[in-house]
C-alpha cells in the first residue's frame, strides 16, 4: 500500500478506532487488549516514519478533511517537525507503556487516546481543531494523573484539572476573539489576514489568552503550579511521558501560533518574559527541593522556559535553538524520572546509592552533564545555539534572558552535583541498598544510549534540524502549501 497525503490522518484515526473498541477486547482478555494497544502505537510510529520521505520532498503533506479545501474545512499539515513529534510521542508511549496492573484496559485506552490527541495537536492546521485535540490530550492526562489511586493522585489531578480547564476557557476565549476579528480558523488563512486583523490590543489579548491556555500543558510560568504536584503523585511512567513529550507538543502549538499569527514584538516580548521567569523560578525551586521527583519537575519547568525564550527570538535561529532544547530535554528528562522512580524520598536518604547501583549513578552523571551543558554532549550544543540566537538578535530583553539563563545554569550545576556527591557518599551501615532491576533501568539506559549516539553524530543532526527549523519558521511557505491557489 502506498501512502498518500490523505494518510496523515491515520496517526489520529487509528488509535481512536482501536481505543473505542478496546473496552470490548478488554472484556475478552486484558492481555489481548494490551497487545493490540501496543501494536497500534507501533503502527503509528511506522506510519509517521513512512510519511517522512514524502514530507521532506514537498516540504509538507497537506490533507483537507472531507475533501473541503483549506479555509472551509479542517486541514492536517504534516511537516517534518510535526512528524518528528508524532514519532517521539509514539516511541515515548511504547517505552513507558503500562504494565500488567489493575484496570489495565482503561489505562491502555487512555494511553491510546493520549497518542491520538497528541498527534492531532501537532498535525492539525486549524485553530479550533487544535483546541479539541488539546482537550483530548488534557482529559487523558487528568485520568492518568489519578491512576495511582492515592489521595495525593486524586488531589493533584483535580487541582490540575481545574487549572487546566481555566486555561482552556481562556484559550477558547482567545480563539473566539480571533474568529470575531478575522472570520476564519484556518492557520494558513489567518497568517495572511494577521497583518491587518490581528494586530494591536486585539491580537495581543488573543495571544495572551491562548498562551495562558496552551501554556498550562507547556508548563509556562503563571500556570504551572500543577507540575510538581502531579509529577510526584502520578505513576512515574506517566510523569516521564508528560514531562518528556506532551509538554513539548503544547510548545509546538505555541510555536505555530507565533510563527503564523503573532509576529508582533509585544507578543514575542510577553513570551520572552514568561520564559525567563520560568527559567529562574524553576531552577531556584529545583535547588530547594529535597526529593528527586520535585527537583526534576521544577527543572522541567525551567527547560520549557528555555524553549519559550528560544521561540520568542524572531527568525529561524530561535526556532532552531528551541527545537534543539526540546529534543534534548525529550531524551534526558524521562531518563531522569526512571532514576527518580527507584530513588524516592529525601535526597539525603540516597547516600551511597551510587555504589550499590553504579550503572544508574553513571547514567545520572551523564544526564546531568548533558542538561547542564558540558561541551561534547548534546545539551551543550542546544544551549550554545540558544545563546548565539539571543545575542545575534540583540536587544535588552534577550541579553537579560541570556544572563538569567547563565545564572540558572550555575544553580542547575550546583544542585545536580550536590546529588552526585550524595550518591557517591559512604552509605550508613545497616540500610538496605536500593537496587535497580535491569528491566526498570532499561528505558533510561536506552535514552542514555540515544544521548551518546547524538553526541557522536552531532554534525548531521545539526544540519537536519537546521533545515527543519528554517522550514518551520517560514510562514509564507506554510500558507502557500495549504492554500495552493493563493488569495
Amino acid at each position: 500500500m502506498t501512502l498518500t497525503a490523505h494518510h496523515v490522518v491515520l496517526p489520529v484515526a487509528l488509535p481512536l478506532l482501536v481505543a473505542f473498541l478496546l473496552p470490548l477486547v478488554g472484556r475478552l482478555s486484558d492481555g489481548l487488549a494490551r497487545l493490540l494497544a501496543q501494536l497500534t502505537t507501533l503502527a503509528v510510529a511506522v506510519i509517521a516514519l513512512l510519511l517522512w520521505p514524502a514530507a521532506s520532498d514537498g516540504g509538507a503533506l497537506v490533507s483537507a478533511m472531507g475533501g473541503f479545501a483549506a479555509p472551509i474545512g479542517i486541514v492536517f499539515y504534516a511537516d517534518k517537525l510535526a512528524l518528528m513529534f508524532v514519532v517521539a510521542l509514539a516511541v515515548g508511549l511504547l517505552l513507558f507503556r503500562p504494565r500488567r496492573e489493575h484496570d489495565s484496559t482503561k489505562v491502555q485506552t487512555l494511553w491510546l487516546l493520549l497518542l491520538a490527541g497528541g498527534s492531532g495537536l501537532v498535525l492539525s492546521g486549524d485553530l479550533f481543531n487544535i483546541f479539541v485535540f488539546y482537550e483530548i490530550t488534557a482529559v487523558a492526562t487528568y485520568g492518568l494523573g489519578a491512576s495511582a489511586h492515592t489521595g495525593a493522585g486524586y488531589g493533584a489531578s483535580l487541582r490540575y484539572l481545574l487549572l487546566s480547564a481555566l486555561g482552556s476557557a481562556f484559550a477558547l476565549l482567545g480563539i473566539a476573539l480571533v474568529y470575531a476579528a478575522a472570520g476564519t480558523l484556518n492557520l494558513a488563512d489567518l497568517s495572511q489576514l494577521a497583518g491587518e486583523r490581528l494586530t494591536g490590543p486585539m491580537g495581543l489579548t488573543a495571544f495572551v489568552l491562548m498562551v495562558l491556555g496552551f501554556g498550562v500543558k507547556a508548563e509556562l510560568f503563571p500556570v504551572n503550579t500543577w507540575v510538581p504536584e502531579v509529577y510526584t503523585a502520578a505513576p512515574t511512567r506517566v510523569t516521564a511521558v508528560l514531562a518528556g513529550v506532551v509538554s513539548k507538543l503544547a510548545m509546538v502549538v505555541i510555536l505555530r501560533l507565533l510563527v503564523l499569527l503573532f509576529q508582533d514584538p509585544a507578543a514575542l516580548g510577553f513570551l520572552l518574559l514568561l520564559g525567563a521567569i520560568g527559567v529562574a523560578a524553576g531552577e531556584l525551586a529545583a535547588f530547594r527541593s529535597r526529593d528527586l521527583h520535585r527537583t526534576f519537575a521544577y527543572s522541567s519547568i525551567a527547560q520549557l522556559g528555555l524553549m519559550a525564550v528560544a521561540f520568542s527570538i524572531p527568525g529561524h535561529a530561535g526556532v532552531l535553538a528551541g527545537i534543539a532544547v526540546a529534543l534534548h530535554h525529550l531524551v534526558v528528562k524521562p531518563a531522569f524520572f526512571v532514576l527518580a522512580d527507584r530513588w524516592r524520598g529525601e535526597i539525603a536518604g540516597l547516600t551511597g546509592a551510587g555504589r550499590t547501583s553504579p550503572l544508574a549513578a553513571g547514567l545520572f552523571v551523564l544526564l546531568s552533564l548533558s542538561i547542564i551543558g558540558i561541551p561534547p554532549l548534546p545539551g551543550f550544543w542546544a544551549k550554545l545555539m540558544l545563546f548565539k540566537a539571543a545575542i545575534d538578535a540583540g536587544g535588552a530583553g534577550n541579553l537579560t534572558a541570556v544572563a538569567i539563563i547563565l545564572a540558572a545554569t550555575v544553580i542547575e550545576a550546583a544542585y545536580l552535583f550536590r546529588v552526585v556527591g550524595i550518591l557517591y557518599g559512604t552509605a550508613p551501615a545497616g540500610r538496605p541498598p536500593l537496587r535497580f532491576t535491569l528491566g526498570e533501568l532499561a528505558p533510561g539506559l536506552l535514552l542514555g544510549a540515544v544521548l551518546i549516539a547524538a553526541t557522536v553524530s552531532v554534525a548531521p543532526l545539526g544540519d537536519g534540524l537546521t533545515a527543519m527549523a528554517a522550514d518551520s519558521a517560514d510562514a509564507a511557505a506554510y500558507a502557500s502549501r495549504v492554500l495552493p491557489g493563493g488569495n
Binding site: 478506532l17 473498541l21 473496552p23 472531507g66 479542517i74 485535540f133 485520568g143 495572551v208
Partner: protein, 238 residues
Amino acid sequence: MKGNARAFASALFLIGLGLMLVTLFEALPFGGAPMQVGQAIAGRALEDTGATNIVSAVLLAYRGLDTLGEVAILFVAATAAGLVLGGAGRAEAQGTPAGFILRAAAALLFPFLLVLGAYIVIHGHLTPGGGFQGGAILAAAFFVPLLAHPASPVNHGVATVVEAFAGAVFVVIGLAGLVGGGAFLVPLLGAGTPGDLFSAGSLPLLYLAIGLKVGSELAGLMARIAAAGDPARQGGKA
C-alpha cells in the same frame, strides 16, 4: 500574609483581564460578523451535503474531525471517570426506592424521553438538534428509572458494546473515504433530496453513531457518579 498576597494577585488578575476585555469593546465588529468562512459555508452547504440544518453540515462535514474529537473527549472523560471511581459493575444497592410519584413519573417518562431522543437524533440533519442533544436526552431516559429504583443494577456491559460499536462506526465511515483514495470523512452516498429523512448521504448515519455513543457515555457517567462512594458514610446528612 500569604492569603493576602494571593487575594491581591487574584484581584489584580481579575481587574487586568477585565480591562483587557473592555478595551476590545470598540474594536470588535458587532452585529455584522466578518463571516469569511461562514458566508461561504452558508452558500454551499446544501449542494455539498444535502443537509438543511447548516449547523449539522458544519458539525459533520466541514468540521467533522472536531466532532470526532468531541466524541473522543466524552469517551476519554468516561474512561477516566471509570478509572477514578472504580471498575464497571460496582453499582451496589443503595438506599430505599424512591416515592410513588417519582416511580410513576419515571415509568411514564422513560418511553417518552426515548422517543423524543431518537427523533431528535435522526432528524438532526433537517431540524435543530442532532446526535449530541438527542444523545443527552437518551441518557436522561435511561437515568430516570435509575433514580426511581436506586437498587437496580446498572448494566454497563450493554452500554460498553453500544459505545464501542458506535464509536468505531464513526471512524470507519471516515476511513472509507481514504479507501476510495479521497480524504478522511468525505461525505458518502450522495446528497439525496433536501428535506427528506433519508437524505444528506452519510450524515444521518454519523449522527446515529454519535447519538448512541454520547447517550451511552453520558448515562454511564451519571450512573457511575450516582453509585460512587459509600452512601452510608457520605450521605449521612441527607
